[in-house]
């Protein structure tokens, strides 16, 4: 115990720093989480740097130099597609869209889910009842079927795909957040805050939300891979925008152009493995985060 902070703001900052350091230490102690983090950083760096690594002209069909579905060679390490473009270039560029869609959809789902969850838990009453029933309704709907139906109605574009994925995945977060809100509400300091005259808004944003956020973060990390998987499934089923390059749309083109019959594994494997890797990385991070925020989940240590 050296310097004791004087102002309340400094005190708060110091506490935050302390708790972050504690969480980081807890996270670091999990090997799977670290592996996931490294993997994820590598993928994000590759996705962000894709325009530097591979010129956009490699996506052009009129300037494609390769043959039709050429197997891997020195010039095309992962072979070519049916118009002669490099699969490596396509997969690299595809990562951008897959990640953007996965992250944006998750963000939207989490925002809606948290807002509904916190208000449902805090306000309760008939509003809470209605909010819960609505989220139940979305939870029991088979998500892929609903997504397909919605895309057919709304048309296909990146925006609608994000919207649809967010729409079918927000309800889980709502449940989680509401439960956590209820436990936080029961704590004495909230009663104290109420006694001191804190309004609903103050209680929700200053007391409930900060206590709910870690949980939300962990569940968001677990939601991203399912969003990416859903985007890929939809695109693979031919429900994505065929004019953009994402992992799912590469798979869709591969199967439509008979890569399966032609045994062109180089056309199918790279986007498939990329999806697998990203999902795996997010899962590893998400599990580790969960363990950080919920000590009961922490095992013997990796």
């Amino acid at each position: 115990m050296t310097a004791v902070p004087t102002s309340p703001r400094a005190l708060r900052r110091a506490r935050t720093r302390q708790s972050l350091a504690r969480s980081w230490a807890a996270y670091r102690s999990q090997r799977a989480g670290m592996v996931g983090l490294v993997l994820l950083s590598a993928i994000v760096v590759l996705a962000v740097a894709a325009p530097l690594l591979v010129d956009q002209s490699q996506l052009s069909v009129t300037q494609a130099t390769g043959g039709r579905m050429e197997p891997p060679s020195a010039e095309f390490p992962l072979g070519t597609d049916e118009v002669g473009r490099s699969i490596l270039a396509l997969t690299l560029w595809g990562s951008r869209l897959s990640l953007i869609i996965g992250l944006t959809a998750t963000l939207a789902a989490i925002l809606v889910g948290t807002a509904v969850g916190v208000t449902a838990g805090h306000v309760g009453g008939w509003y809470g009842w209605v909010a819960l029933r609505v989220s139940d309704w979305f939870m029991v709907l088979p998500s892929l079927v609903v997504a397909i139906a919605l895309l057919a109605v709304l048309g296909r574009s990146m925006g609608t795909t994000i919207l649809v994925i967010a729409l079918v995945s927000w309800s889980g977060t709502t449940r989680l957040v509401r439960a956590q809100t209820l436990t936080v509400q029961a704590r004495p300091y909230l009663e104290r805050a109420r006694a001191l005259g804190a309004g609903h808004w103050h209680q929700m944003t200053r007391h409930v939300l900060p206590n709910v956020l870690p949980l939300v973060l962990a569940s968001a990390t677990l939601l991203v891979p399912s969003a990416i998987l859903m985007e890929s499934s939809l695109a693979w089923l031919g429900l994505g925008d065929p004019n953009v390059v994402s992992w799912g749309s590469i798979l869709n083109r591969a199967s439509d152009n008979g890569a399966v019959s032609a045994h062109a594994w180089w056309y199918l494997l790279p986007p498939g493995l990329a999806i697998l890797l990203v999902v795996l990385a997010f899962m590893m991070c998400g599990r580790a985060l969960e363990a950080v925020f919920n000590p009961r989940l922490r095992g013997e240590g990796a």
Binding site: S60, V61, T62, Q63, R68, M69, E82, V83, G84, A152, G155, R156, S157, G238, L239, D241, P242, N243, N252, R253, S255, D256, N257, G258, A259, V260, S261, A262, H263, A264
Partner: protein, 610 residues
């Protein structure tokens, strides 16, 4: 774990496997014996049945079942020429309004009743008198005045306007009066009652949704009994699954029965199989892009929201010049097709127009020069604007969302047009919605494509002034793209009544030239038919046309399925007889049983030892 336990487990597993194999072996000869009795031609399909009513059906699959179940007066030959069907001969009157057909004698329906001219008169009568049937076929039925059968062997058809080619090529499936007159309303789906009664080579007897359509051969078919005892359309959800089934010998024919057909990669894979013959020949289908040059109604009211620049023929021509059709054929189709000039594909050699001196060559520089000359100047962003500094040349390009070939073509076109300083934004839309927008005129550029029939009147007729809509709500869908040119219309009427085939062909070619030069549509390519069949189980299928023709997707009559013969004939020659199978199965069961008993005993001793 002791080693005995492991061995025991392994042996039990083996015994179970052997037992199952034995059971299968016993079951197998039963199934095989059943199939030996009946020679079945298995065709892969994934198309749903709309209705078996031949007047109402619209799908390709029911077109084929109708062709096999029923007969027409005049059949379409293997070279798409009229050949005798139920009518042995026909005479057109001087004024072209009265047609007299002599009906073939001795033809019977599949239920044994005799077929007479009365059945023919009844069928044509339905087209004239039954309101619903009349409306569905109004383009032909609207011209019919009367249908009479003065005696059992003569049928007389009277028209309002001469239309020799319509009469000879229109497929009117003759239905049995003694069955159909029992239906309260022949336009209803009552004609779905299976088995169907017809006079064709095969009749539909069984249909299970998404499972199979079974057609039984008609051994008394007037032109000779078919080689197979039955045809079964087998449903496959995915073309790749149908390809795998053909590789495994589970299906005999894979072709146009699968929507979208086979693709080059699948053909290549199948070509490597010893028992498969692949057929990659010119087809009847064209793929085109429609340019919205202004949608109008018959009274000249403009509607829709097409880009004004597309009304300028110079812009349309420049866009046409910037498309390398050969490159599209090479990359999108892997060479399985040919660049298109106009609406009639090259397979109909007598009507196809090859472009002659007007053929547009791929020339980006030339196209740029055209646009420069016409005053379309490039803005700072490289995109041209309308003369006088008007609107930017930025077009919407609608494509069918489920078609990846279109997506590739769109990407090519967008890149080529970008070099002209034309910005084009592709957008994938569901087919139904795309059609809605197209008929409302709310598009700039859109994909289109048709399978063309042997009578050019049909396709060319969609480009006449007479079929322009009267309303602006997009519900009248007879005009392909609001094309209206009086010269074209005059030629079109002339070819309809021209009885001399060569003179008619000249008129049809002239129509195509006008269409090509006005460029309301850019015809991209004619797509090949890609199909494959198992030559170890089916042989002798007549193609249409005979030279380099197709087996699936035939027009007017299914020559291929009628002439198809099973390979090997009797099942006795192939494979061991049923007795051998039973002996093998018995042996397997004995061995397996012994193994099982042995394991049990071992288990006992092992248990005791432990």
């Amino acid at each position: 774990m002791n080693p005995h336990a492991l061995t025991r487990r392994f042996l039990s597993a083996l015994a179970v496997l052997a037992l199952t194999a034995g059971a299968l072996a016993v079951a197998a000869p039963g199934a095989a014996a059943q199939e030996d009795d009946v020679d079945t031609l298995l065709i892969a399909t994934n198309q749903e049945v709309d209705t078996f009513n031949p007047f109402k059906r619209r799908n390709v699959i029911t077109y084929e079942t109708s062709m096999m179940t029923y007969d027409t007066l005049v059949k379409m030959g293997t070279e798409y020429e009229p050949v005798p069907g139920l009518a042995t001969e026909w005479v057109e009157s001087e004024d072209g309004l009265t047609w007299t057909f002599t009906i073939r004698e001795g033809v019977t329906w599949s239920d044994g009743e005799a077929l007479t001219a009365n059945d023919v008169a009844y069928t044509y009568g339905l087209l004239i008198e039954n309101q619903a049937i009349h409306d569905w076929n109004v383009d032909f039925a609207g011209n019919l005045v009367s249908a009479e059968a003065p005696d059992d062997a003569t049928f007389v058809l009277t028209l309002a306007q001469p239309a020799p080619w319509d009469v000879l090529t229109r497929e009117v499936y003759i239905v049995p009066e003694h069955v159909w007159s029992q239906f309260p309303d022949p336009s209803a789906d009552d004609a779905n009652q299976l088995p169907l009664v017809g006079s064709g080579p095969f009749q539909v007897t069984e249909y299970k949704t998404d499972e199979l359509i079974r057609l039984k051969a008609n051994p008394d078919y007037w032109d000779g009994a078919p080689g197979f005892d039955e045809i079964v359309y087998d449903y496959y959800a995915e073309t790749d699954a149908a390809v795998a089934a053909l590789e495994a010998g589970e299906v005999d024919v894979v072709g146009s029965g699968m929507q979208g057909g086979l693709n080059p990669a699948q053909i290549e894979a199948l070509a490597k199989q010893d028992h498969v013959t692949v057929n990659d020949v010119q087809g009847r289908r064209y793929v085109s892009i429609t340019l919205n040059h202004g949608t109008v109604t018959q009274d000249g009211t403009e509607f829709g929201d097409g880009h004004p620049a597309l009304k300028d023929p110079v812009v349309r021509k420049a866009m046409h010049m910037a498309i390398d059709k050969q490159a599209l054929v090479d990359t999108v189709l892997d060479g399985s097709g040919s660049p298109a000039t106009s609406i009639i594909p090259a397979i109909f050699a007598q009507y196809h127009w090859d472009g002659g001196d007007s053929l547009v060559q791929f020339d980006i520089e030339g196209a740029n020069a055209l646009l420069d000359e016409a005053g379309y100047e490039r803005g700072e962003d490289g995109v041209r604007t309308m003369p006088g500094g008007g609107q930017r040349l930025s077009f919407r390009f609608y494509q069918h969302a489920d078609n990846t070939a279109y997506a590739t073509i769109a990407q090519f076109a967008v890149e080529w047009w970008a070099e002209l300083g034309i910005e084009v934004v592709p957008e994938a839309i569901e087919q139904g919605e795309l059609n809605n927008l197209a008929y409302l005129g709310e598009f700039d550029i859109a994909f289109s494509g048709w399978g063309v029939g042997p009578n050019p009147t049909e396709q060319l007729g969609m480009h006449t002034c007479a079929v322009l809509p009267t309303l602006t709500d997009g519900t009248e869908r007879s005009s392909e793209n609001s094309y209206c040119n009086p010269d074209f219309d005059a030629l079109h009427e002339q070819q309809k009544v021209e009885s001399d085939p060569d003179a008619r062909a000249e008129l049809v070619k002239e129509e195509q030239r006008l269409l090509y030069e006005d460029t309301p549509v850019i015809y991209l390519y004619y797509q090949n038919v890609m199909e494959a069949y198992d030559h170890d189980s089916v042989t002798g299928m007549t193609t249409q046309p005979t030279e380099n023709g197709m087996v699936t997707g035939q027009q007017g009559f299914t020559w291929s399925y009628w002439s198809a013969q099973p390979v090997g004939g009797d099942g006795d020659e192939g494979g061991p007889s049923a007795w051998v199978w039973i002996a093998v199965a018995a042996a397997v069961i004995v061995v397996a049983g012994a193994g099982f008993v042995l394991t049990l005993r071992r288990k006992k001793t092992a248990d005791e030892r432990e």
